[in-house]
Symmetry: C2
Subunit: 181 residues, 2 copies
Amino acid sequence: MTLSDKNFAFVMHCGEMGSRWGFNRTIGQMCGLLIITKEPMTANEIADALSISRGNVSMGIKELQSWRLIKVHHIPGDRKEYYAPAGTIWDMANRVFEERKKREIDPTLSLLRDNLLEPATNDDEKFAQQQMHEIHDLLETVTKWSSELQRLSPEQLQSLMKLGSGIGKVLDFKDKILKKP
Amino acid sequence: MTLSDKNFAFVMHCGEMGSRWGFNRTIGQMCGLLIITKEPMTANEIADALSISRGNVSMGIKELQSWRLIKVHHIPGDRKEYYAPAGTIWDMANRVFEERKKREIDPTLSLLRDNLLEPATNDDEKFAQQQMHEIHDLLETVTKWSSELQRLSPEQLQSLMKLGSGIGKVLDFKDKILKKP
DNA sequence: CATAGCTTTCATTATTTATTGAAACTTGAG
DNA sequence: CTCAAGTTTCAATAAATAATGAAAGCTATG
């Protein structure tokens, strides 16, 4: 099966963006390819479509699974594994978001926590700790906020985002609202 | 000037995280170093503190300036340039966020827009376009939302984030609120 | 307008990251 | 148990990215 020009362009774009989204070129391409392909694909089909080695596909699959972005399908009487996206676009975006938080924020939060437990021993350390404290608080707020957002239903989340400029107005009323039982 | 062990550990951590945050090791270190150092630093001081070449520092400064994360200070009677963070921790986080949106989302949004203008010419393209449409809508919602958030004052934003689980309750009331004049 | 003091550039080199493909491994069917 | 169809691993290699440092470029001052 060979991709149309437009679809090929999309897949290549995903490749170019791959490293910015947190993986590498090949894995970006694989992800894009699986998203725009209706039927689940075998590893060999992926390798052919992208002109990359079978081994590389195997690595990529492992990585995409670690991000929980793809799932395996089986066809009765066929020993091959077929791969497909592990959910809706929305699900996938959430997974990427979550996974990146884990890689980009959590380790720093943990380092900062440890650092702030020990008392500063001189002025340089005192100033540094103030700064680290600010970073810590910021990251913690973001973390808490993002886990609140995850807790909302997709509908609530959509509704919140669609609020747009209404958000300011809503905020003005929050105190009143939160006092009600 | 030499860093204490704790401060050094923080700077090295910033280096390790650098590439996950969107730059590279050295630039991560430079950023961390400038944040925890009270006084603005010269390029040579930075090179010494991190044991890297003067040329590398120059590159890093250029890059950090393109992210608008640092600014230049001058001391009367001194021809050297002194560098310091270009704002509060909060400001810097915002800048990184904005810049990353520009690099990670905007190009894809643009590609998708172009692609969706042309009609699909067969079933594969039709399916692909449905998927791209979903991605497009998701990215557009996120983009609009993030620009709304940027429009809020830091205080409002803090207050929104601190809402935490209250957000669900507030959402339930939004329809009532938005009807009021 | 010459130069000292500083910054930037960029070709070269070093380091890191990704890819290949052959060999090893796994597994279901006969 | 054996084989064939498939998958994974990993040492070797290729490609991409980052760092160095010498040379070129600026610019404030005498």
